[in-house]
């Protein structure tokens, strides 16, 4: 039998990597239905403002990402825990001279209520979503969602609305009574997609070298496991074999992203878990995520893009620390890391004092004098305490 180098043949077949072909996408392109319903007068579609950027999604379709004129849908979970997550997003917008709105006319998406307790229903969820979208539409600014859960949930709500005439009718009726319209945005955009889309611009403004930093990435379940065809997958990153989100941003900043075996696992937050069996969440976060990262990679930081993930990964480590286990990885969002790279203040902007895990070694590695920065923050707090100031302003943040 003549020798055939099969292993070379098989390897060379795989070398070009996976080719995404939108024609072979197993899922519908929701835009087709969205625009059809718009034509039929069933709903209003809010267009992504120009100029927009385009990013590839799982099956090679393109998703439009607004550059500016954005309306920021904040998360109900993040505020108490990590306000710097959103503050950093705003700071990047300002730094790049982008126009945006931080609205007061926005509620929780209430998905947490829905998923964790089942005391809600489809019309309620859809109406809450559309009330928020409609509010954005009224301002002329395009919604951008900070929370991974709201993002995933709104996409599921969109699916239901596009496919159920009766639900659309119910929601239209409710909106009418509120003096609002049934509006859906052309794209439902997560803030990390925006960060990803402008990563090169962020890198152009980078003032802190991060090339000596090793990071791990936790992609949020509600980002890439709900309506997954709409998540960003880029052939340049992981060969489009997993979402490019966060990793692409970190790479653009020169950070060394390393892989660990449980990257696909939940952060531990779950939904009901964090509420009804918090110990399970804590153990999962530590044993399935943090300890695995520590053992396999020993990163300087782990970066994610959902409020629940940042808080769970960050604030679960104290219990393990008390038991002397190998933990101690600072956790941040991609917006915080990006803002830091662009020179944002670690406490006034990133608000890292709300985070739980010791991040001082991380700063020391970056050559950032955290003592001095903390002092600056304390001085700002002092001014508020003395009544000299009521709040910290954006000018103070950059002072």
């Amino acid at each position: 039998m003549s020798y055939v180098p099969v292993e070379e043949i098989i390897k060379s077949q795989k070398t070009p990597g996976f080719k995404t072909t939108p024609e072979e996408a197993p899922t519908e392109d929701f835009h087709d239905i969205l625009f059809q319903l718009e034509k039929e007068g069933e709903l209003i579609v809010q267009r992504v403002p120009e100029p927009y950027l385009e990013v590839p999604t799982k099956y090679g379709r393109k998703k439009k990402i607004p550059l500016q004129k954005t309306w920021h849908h904040k998360s109900c979970g993040q505020c108490g825990h990590i306000p710097g997550y959103s503050t950093s997003i705003f700071w990047i917008n300002r730094k790049l001279g982008f126009d945006y709105i931080d609205p007061r006319d926005q509620t929780s998406c209430t998905a947490w209520n829905y998923y964790a307790s089942a005391t809600s229903n489809a019309p309620a969820q859809a109406a809450v979503a559309i009330r928020n979208f409609s509010s954005a539409y009224e301002t002329g600014y395009f919604p951008i969602i900070h929370c991974g859960t709201s993002f995933g949930h709104y996409k599921e709500v969109r699916h239901e609305l596009l496919h159920h005439h009766e639900l659309r009718r119910q929601v239209r009726d409710i909106m009418e009574r509120l003096g609002k319209k049934l509006v859906l945005p052309e794209e439902i955009v997560h803030y990390s997609e925006w960060v990803y889309a402008i990563r090169d611009r962020i890198a152009e403004h980078q003032v802190i070298d991060m090339s000596n930093i090793t990071a791990t990435v936790h992609p949020a379940c509600h980002y890439h496991k709900l309506v997954e065809e709409d998540a960003v997958y880029d052939p340049e990153i992981y060969g489009a074999q997993r979402t490019a989100i966060v990793t692409g941003t970190l790479k653009a900043l020169g950070i060394n992203v390393k892989d660990y075996s449980t990257w696909f696992d939940c952060c531990g937050f779950g939904f009901r878990h964090i509420l009804v069996s918090r110990d399970f969440s804590r153990s999962f976060a530590v044993q399935r995520k943090i300890e695995v990262m520590k053992e396999e990679v020993n990163p300087d930081v782990t970066v994610t893009h959902d409020t629940g993930c940042v808080t769970t990964l960050d604030q679960s480590q104290f219990a393990a620390r008390a038991h002397g286990r190998k933990v101690g990885i600072p956790v941040m969002s991609d917006s915080q890391i990006a803002a830091l790279a662009m020179g944002a203040h670690p406490y006034k902007v990133l608000q890292l004092h709300w985070h739980n895990t010791d991040n001082k070694p991380f700063f020391e590695k970056l050559g950032i004098d955290w003592k001095k920065k903390w002092q600056e923050f304390e001085e700002a707090v002092e001014k508020i305490k003395s009544g000299e100031k009521e709040y910290l302003t954006w000018e103070d943040a950059d002072a």
Binding site: K74, C76, G77, C79, G80, H81, P83, S86, T87, F90, D102, P103, R104, D105, Q106, T107, S108, W112, N113, A116, S117, A118, T119, S120, N121, A124, A127, V128, R131, S135, I174, R177, L178, R272, L275, V276, T311, Q315, F318, A319, A322, K348, V349, Q351, H353, W354, H355, N356, D358, N359, K360, A380, V381, I384, Y391, L392, T393, W394, D396, A397
Partner: protein
């Protein structure tokens, strides 16, 4: 059965704040030691809420500000879509309390619920 506990917590929190459902994790009893500083600076936390440049920060609590009118619109949605009736099935007492708050607020805002 533990489920109503979760439900109560979430519904009550959204009802009260419209924007926040999480507990204060940095409290000493929650074991939080912010930034690895050693001691949870609970006393300073109120000031920290103000030491935030985002305009919608809330001075009093770790939440984002919400227009009272917006909150009432959400209550209205809850009321007419039967969210509180669902709550009553698992936690009638809590549902009663919520209903009372809600009705007062909606009446004040001039919403007709029937």
């Amino acid at each position: 059965m533990r489920r109503p506990i979760a439900q109560s917590r979430i519904v009550r929190k959204i009802l009260l704040t419209g924007a926040r459902i999480t507990s204060e994790m940095l409290e000493e009893k929650a074991g939080g030691i912010p930034g690895g500083w050693g001691k949870p600076p609970t006393a300073r936390q109120e000031l920290w809420h103000q030491a935030l440049p985002a305009e919608t920060r809330s001075a009093a609590e770790p939440i984002w500000q919400i227009d009272p009118a917006t909150l009432k619109e959400m209550f209205f949605i809850w009321k007419i879509t039967g969210v509180l009736d669902q709550l009553a099935l698992v936690d009638p007492i809590l549902a009663d309390v919520c209903n009372q708050i809600l009705e007062e607020q909606l009446e004040e805002a001039g919403f007709k619920v029937d």
